[in-house]
């Protein structure tokens, strides 16, 4: 079989591997901040709010990923505003966005003529079906996230470690916090493609939590997170291919197994 025939038949494998690499980079960077800032509940809220955007996009017939983008960024800004400006506990707002987003998505999907089964792939992800257009979008979002963290690395560590002192040093804590939440939102849009919105939060927390056990600086934690997510994603993908299982769920099971192993290893190491 020559190369072109291979790509014709198995191009989806190449595409899904590229998608996995791109999503690992975003998830490793963002997951590290989600874990150290302890905002996984915000991540869960944004991920489920995205469903509203997907449903509406289907209904009006545009690429669902754009609906996801609009809704995730909107949810991030709203949560940030409630947290920072109104000084209210953001829990209620997150829960509301979580549920209302899901409900909106389900209603619009129902109203869309000829109920589209693709919606299910956004719930649980289907990296094998990713389009080239979406791959380009993933690359752009990745570049935005990496550039943001590179430029504001010091300030981001600072506001995560000690928000109050950052404010004393004249750092714009509110703006950076909102931008950080938008970064979480963009990463979720990327990960919805690979593991689906229900499983997003596992990929944003488990690998970075493992990385945190073995890191004494934030950039090491980021690099280790990316490596771990790559490992879990590729092994999950291999599992999905070989025994024909859903790809997103396989990836998450790998991450879960890795987390339990790391936790057990750490506990055993400590007791000797």
């Amino acid at each position: 079989m020559d190369i072109s025939a291979f790509f014709e038949n198995y191009g989806f494998i190449t595409n899904s591997i590229i998608a996995v690499v791109l999503s690992s980079i975003a998830a490793g960077i963002t997951g590290t901040f989600v874990v150290v800032k302890k905002i996984s509940y915000i991540g869960g809220g944004i991920a489920h709010a995205v469903m509203g955007g997907l449903g509406i996009a289907y209904f009006i017939g545009v690429n669902p990923i754009y609906g996801a983008l609009v809704f995730s960024v909107f949810a991030a800004i709203l949560i940030g505003y409630v947290k920072l400006k109104l000084k209210q506990n953001e829990d209620t707002m997150i829960s509301a966005l979580w549920a209302v987003g899901m409900a909106t998505g389900i209603i619009f999907a129902y109203l869309t003529p000829g109920y589209n089964v693709n919606l299910l792939s956004f719930l649980f992800g289907n990296v094998l079906m990713i389009s080239t257009e979406n791959l380009w979008l993933l690359l752009i979002l990745d570049l935005i996230i990496a550039a943001f963290v590179f430029v504001y690395y010091k300030q981001l560590i600072f506001i995560t470690f000690d928000e109050e002192y950052a404010a004393v040093r004249g750092i714009n804590v509110n703006l950076l916090t909102i931008l950080l939440l938008i970064m979480v939102a963009l990463t979720i849009v990327i990960l919805v493609q690979t593991v689906g919105l229900i499983l997003v939060i596992a990929l944003l927390t488990l690998p970075s939590a493992i990385a945190g056990m073995f890191s004494n600086t934030l950039y090491k934690m980021i690099l280790l997170s990316i490596a771990l997510i790559l490992l879990f994603s590729l092994s999950g993908l291999a599992l999905a291919f070989s025994v024909n299982l859903p790809s997103g769920a396989s990836i998450i099971l790998m991450a879960g197994a890795g987390y339990i192993l790391a936790l057990a290893g750490k506990t055993i190491a400590r007791s000797y």
Binding site: Y152, K154, Q155, F158, D162, E164, R169, G170, L218
Partner: protein, 244 residues
């Protein structure tokens, strides 16, 4: 002499529950003021107003003749380390480097000059050998020294400390006060504490705060009671005199 910090008729409360009432306080260059009072008496609230985190309901606060949030870069602040995340992956030297972080510095690395400044203050506080350690793994006294380093690394004009000796033992407490009194030759110090303890050996004035505020020159405390007395007796004396 113009005061560095001038608080006039300051009143503050949450949802109509007054926390601070008609506070007046002037702090001058090279003062070492201890703010003491019971928990919930408004000490930390006053500190947060001075740092610009909270706005007074009425009255005025000026630092160096300006509003607190516009002069925060002249202030070194030592928060309570017990509120910090032990798991956070950060080295001691990186915590101190934060004291030099600017809002408009867009490189992930700090300059060589910043590092030498950090090592310099670490020498001063005798924690140079801890530079590469993880902050969360330090003892209470070591964390406190790290945070003092972070506060002074930017050469501030004044230093605010929130309960710097809470949960450290007496020897370390005395040690920290000695270090602070050395700094006091250049820096104005404002220290919040819930007990008098060793404070009276080092401060020149004590402000007792429990909704309202009363200032005592330090000799007023020491003349009443020998400094060797247990702090409980000291606090009771001050409470009595303030009528709080």
């Amino acid at each position: 002499m113009n005061p560095l910090i001038k608080i006039e008729d300051l009143t503050f409360g949450y949802d109509n529950a007054p926390i601070l009432e008609k506070i007046n306080l002037e702090i001058f260059e090279r003062d070492f003021v201890g703010i003491i009072g019971p928990n919930g008496g408004g000490k930390t609230t006053l500190l947060k107003i001075l740092l610009g985190f909270l706005k007074p309901d009425s009255g005025s606060v000026s630092i160096l003749g300006r509003s607190p949030d516009s002069v925060s870069k002249f202030i070194g602040y030592v928060p309570q380390y017990s509120e910090m995340d032990k798991q956070f992956p950060i080295k001691v030297k990186d915590v101190i480097l934060m004291g030099l972080c600017e809002s408009s510095s867009f490189s992930p690395r700090f300059s060589q000059k910043s590092y030498s400044k950090v090592y310099e203050v670490m020498e001063l506080l005798k924690i140079r050998d801890l530079a590469e350690k993880k902050f969360g793994e330090l003892s209470g006294g070591q964390k406190q020294r790290t945070l003092i380093c972070r506060a002074i690394v930017s050469n501030p004009k004044m230093l605010f400390l929130d309960e710097p000796t809470a949960s450290v033992d007496a020897a370390i407490e005395e040690d920290i006060y000695k270090i602070l009194s050395d700094f006091n030759s250049d820096i104005t110090i404002l220290l919040v504490s819930h007990d008098v303890g060793f404070i009276s050996n080092y401060v020149n004035r004590v402000a007792c705060i429990n909704r309202s505020l009363v200032i005592h020159p330090v000799n007023e405390i020491s003349s009443e009671h020998a400094l060797t007395h247990a702090y409980h007796e000291n606090t009771s004396v001050i409470h009595h005199k303030c009528g709080l």
